[in-house]
Structures are given as structure tokens and as C-alpha cells.
Assembly symmetry: C2
Homo-oligomer: 241 residues x 2
């Protein structure tokens, strides 16, 4: 059998039943894997236990790939796939290789001609975009914004400029404990008519998704707290006269 | 009960068993809906039959929302949700309100304070991005490129420029019967070191996902045919001297 890299999406919220976020066929496929590259071994063990993986956890081979992994160490992680086995790539939350360090392994697989198979699973970015009601024909995921006040204000102005120029939704994120500070900066910095969506706790029991104009948000500022959150904005284009 | 808009992802490939692309919990939820807004009624009927929806198809209320729908006609489509029922929003393929006209309904729901709940399902854009091995920390979905030769060449140059400037993956699509023409234009126009991923037939039995540099693709041009395909490129940044 030819080896493959199988992309396994993990739950976004660990309290959500897995059969609400992963197809039965994906769960079945995951239970057949015995080699994994994971972002974080501890959360991977919890996830595989919840998947009711048939092997004792200590018999599942697990190598870590994260922001601390040296570039030169990545190709060796593909060894199980080279040996003809299916190698699972598992993120800490959501789709691997999207907004996480897993893409480096996938790129190595392509370089060696090893097939890559993505299994369907949750992506908070995409679920938030769909539920935002903002432009979904063109969008951009910008990741994290600068942490310093001046850099962040400039970045937000640039997101508004690009959104208006290209009629595209701009998506960004923040470390959860800074969500409310980011929201404060967005409400202070952005134009009143810019539309902002906030998607917090996506797929979980505390899921909360709202979209309104900045000026409406200013009148009633929500508390996001430490739930993982996605922010999306769309700025009105300047009217041509 | 408060009405809601429930976002239902449809299969990408109609020959894929639904339990490979939709969680059991999502299928259960879909079977409980009796009001839908759909992109195309004919394909929606096939999908709901495959979901083993318990109601006879003619008893399921189905309104169409697509590129022919007038702006003024959209708010009326929310009537079932206003009446306290759950209203399913169903795309022709993949996630609704992403690369389809459904976002207009979702925006109206937010304007009226109607909750929006996205169910997990397949998105060819996101699966392709994860499986591409290209930068997943920052990416941009640009939709369709211009059809005329000069406009398309300029658009491709702009995608390469933005990719290099922002270190972000640029994602674009084409009407399936023009896939191979688009690929020809990309190989003719883009820089040799730019990396291109092609993801064709995602989730289906003919799924084919490869990533390599333009110069490597030029040596062995694949035939994509009429499978739905996603194109992704990442251009190397200019070396600073």
C-alpha cells in the first residue's frame, strides 16, 4: 500500500460531541491510523481517546510538529508514510495546516510525491465566515494583528482599505485572553459604517455569532471573554460621485 | 421556540457517501428541518433525499436564492425563521454563504436579530488549502479571475505580487470546463519558482491534489478535465540583499 498523509481536523470545543463535528466516515478512518504527527501530544491523546481509537494510546506513535520544530527535522516526520503507512496530521483545534504549523509537513509530502488526503472536519474560520453574512465570494484570512497600539491601528486601517477596494471580507484572530482588548481597539479605530462580525465559541455550547455595523456595536459592547473568537470585517466602498 | 437560520453544507461530489462528509449530528439536524432556502431546488431535492429526510420532498418548503434573486426579495425568505422555525440555508455544493449567493440571507438574519447556526460540512476551498502545503497562516480567496487574456495575465501577476508581499496563499477558481485553459495561462504567466497547488474532485473518488513549482508543472502538465478544481499559488518573496 502507498503511504499517505491524512489530514485530521480536531474538535474546536472539547465539550462538543465528536459526532457533531466529524463525519462517521472520518472517525472510522481516524480509528485505523496508528501513526500521527500532532501539534500538541497531550491534547492529541484526549482527542484520540474521544474518537474511541481501538489501540491503547501508548501504542499510537505520536511525533510533535509545532512552532518549536526545526525546519531540518520536518522531513524525518514523514517516515511512516514512506514506509507505506497512513500518517495522520492532527491540529490542536480545527483543520491542520490552516492557521497552524502543519503546512510544513504537507509541503514535504508533496515534494516527495506522497499523497495528501484531507478529511472533512470543523474550521472555525470557515464556519465564522459562512455565519457572518459578510461577503463570502472574496475573503482574506490575515491571522494575528500587531500587538502594539500604533501597529494595530495601522493594520485595522489597512484591512478596511483592502476590504473596500476589493469588496472582500477580512478575517483576523487574537489570543483568547486579549479578545476584548482587540474588540475595544476595533470599535475605537474602524469607521462607523464598517460591518463587524464576531464569532465566539464556534461549534460549542456557548457559540455566539453576531454581525452589525461598528456604530451599532459601539452602543452595546459585548463581553467575549476567553472563548476562542474569529473577527471579520467588511468596509463599505466609497461611493463614486 | 426562537427561529434560527441553520447553515447546511451540501456534498461537493454527489457520489461520495454523505456520512463521509457530514457529521451524524448535522445529518440528524437536517432531517428535522422542513423549511429551506436553497441555491438550486433540483439539486437540493437530490441532497435531501440522500440525507433520508423523513418528509416527502413535496412537503418540504423550498425557496430559491441565487444570482437571479432581486435584493428586495431576500428579507421575505426569512419568514419561517420569523415564525419561530429553523430555516435551513443550503448551497449547491459545500458551505452556504461561502463562494455562493447565500450571504445575503445571512446578513438579513443578523439585521433582524435572528440567530445563525453553522453546521459542520465540507468546504473545497478549505480542504484544498489544508492539503496544498502552502502557507495556511495567511490566505486569500479571490474567486474567479477575469476571462479575457490581458485581464487574466494582469490578475495573475497581481496574485503573485500580493502573495510575495504578504507571504499569503492566493486561492482562485474557474468554471470546470475552463480548468485546463486556466492552468495553461497560469503556467505561461507565472514565475518559475512560484508554487502552484491544484486540488481537483476534492472529497470524491477522483480526488487529486498536487503542489509543485511552476517550472516543475511545465515539465508535466496534467489534464484536470471537468472536475471542480481549486487553484492555489504562493510566490517566493524577493530576497533582500
Amino acid at each position: 500500500m502507498a503511504g499517505r498523509v491524512v489530514l485530521v481536523a480536531s474538535w474546536i470545543d472539547e465539550e462538543t460531541p465528536l459526532d457533531h463535528v466529524l463525519p462517521a466516515g472520518a472517525l472510522e478512518r481516524i480509528r485505523g491510523l496508528r501513526d500521527f504527527v500532532v501539534e500538541d501530544a497531550k491534547s492529541a491523546r484526549r482527542f484520540l481517546a474521544a474518537c474511541r481509537h481501538p489501540l491503547p494510546i501508548r501504542e499510537i506513535a505520536m511525533a510533535e510538529l509545532n512552532e518549536h520544530t526545526a525546519e531540518a527535522a520536518v522531513p524525518a516526520l514523514l517516515e511512516p508514510a514512506r514506509a507505506g503507512r497512513e500518517l495522520g496530521l492532527l491540529s490542536e483545534a480545527g483543520m491542520p495546516a490552516v492557521a497552524d504549523p502543519g503546512a510544513r509537513l504537507v509541503a514535504c509530502a508533496h515534494a516527495e510525491g506522497i499523497a495528501v488526503v484531507p478529511l472533512v472536519g470543523p474550521s472555525s474560520i470557515l464556519l465564522a465566515l459562512a455565519a457572518s453574512g459578510l461577503e463570502g465570494q472574496r475573503f482574506r484570512f490575515a491571522g494575528y494583528l500587531p500587538a502594539d497600539a500604533a501597529g494595530r491601528a495601522a493594520a485595522l486601517a489597512e484591512l478596511e482599505r483592502r476590504s473596500a477596494a476589493d469588496d472582500e471580507t477580512q478575517v483576523f484572530i487574537e489570543t483568547p485572553y486579549r479578545n476584548d482588548a482587540l474588540l475595544g481597539d476595533v470599535l475605537k479605530t474602524c469607521k462607523p459604517a464598517t460591518r463587524l462580525a464576531i464569532a465566539a465559541g464556534v461549534t460549542g455550547s456557548s457559540e455566539w455569532i453576531r454581525m452589525r455595523a461598528i456604530e451599532a456595536w459601539r452602543g452595546e459592547v459585548p463581553v467575549i471573554g476567553k472563548r476562542p473568537a474569529i473577527f471579520l470585517l467588511h468596509a463599505a466602498a466609497k461611493k463614486r460621485r
